[in-house]
Symmetry: C2
Subunit: 214 residues, 2 copies
Amino acid sequence: MRMAELARVTGVPQATIKWYLREGLLPRGETTAPNQARYGPVHVHRLRLLRGLADVGGLTAADVRAIVGAIDDPERPMADVLAIAHGALSRGRGRDAAVSPDAVSAVDAFLAHRGWHVTPMSPARTELAAILATIATLEGVPTAQAGGGAQALLDPYADAVEQIAATEIAGLPAVVPRDVLVERVVVGTVLMERALGVLRRLAQEHHYQQEARA
Amino acid sequence: MRMAELARVTGVPQATIKWYLREGLLPRGETTAPNQARYGPVHVHRLRLLRGLADVGGLTAADVRAIVGAIDDPERPMADVLAIAHGALSRGRGRDAAVSPDAVSAVDAFLAHRGWHVTPMSPARTELAAILATIATLEGVPTAQAGGGAQALLDPYADAVEQIAATEIAGLPAVVPRDVLVERVVVGTVLMERALGVLRRLAQEHHYQQEARA
């Protein structure tokens, strides 16, 4: 198909498609004339991935670029791809904030209590420390006592996600091509984190109305 | 304390504090001289809330303003405050995207299956539709079949958050002052959604390493 049809099918404006082509996020089409190219299902799919990560996943252009770069690099280990997707989800949230040693210690103690092995550079670790520190300062207590203590505050949430994460990782198919698997990990990581938050809000709304009626 | 000390204690730059004062997000201090004011614990607390919602919660300035406005308005019903916090969490993610009627139907069917009663204008509903639609287009299937069907895809996540949300709503204290309760709802809604996502990533990292070792 021509670019105009690619734009129509995907709902992505032609100016945006041209930008993706220039930036190398979308592979070039097959050249059919000096100023004309033909696009196919690969391009449709890639545009949907790019827009899904940005519009629905809420990722920045730089993070979308990093993720797509990792998907396209067959040498990139899967753990790297997961780390890049995790980094994108942490972007701008407590990552660069000055997090006190107290808060980091509280997170370390919590991870030890859960038996979760996580690399020291994991951005999620810093983000969790920033969340605990914020709750503690709002409550006017030391970080270790945020919400009645990290274990009391976080265990109900950790119990809930522990089962999900174990199922997600164990459920990754072993016999699909790398690019399919990598994309599935990225989409699952990014979009299903959004879904998890959305579902909690929907359940909160439901239970709030139930309580109000009771 | 003087403004310089307020800046030091909270880590918020004086220019930002002045902006908050001008915008009415931070109450004025007690005037002690024509160009001088004294600030107290209320100001420290409010600055921490403002920065926590922005830096750790990842909310836009406009959403922080809407939330603080709702906290400060004693006439505002709690359901409104919850809706404003939920709206802020949906901001920029699938909310304004053109979501197909198919995707909305898939969400409606899923909510009916869960028995969750949610208002039609809930932004979470649209966001969930956008997530399902994105997954479906990437898989090249109709929205109703995203991830093997909304029930198969979402039920594990919904089971996990259902218990959390019920506990959260039931656990709201009944006998605290309104401003304390409202702030607790906002902070719990915003920061604990971030915490939920972060904990899932930490658990994923742990289980990924376990799998890789096995």
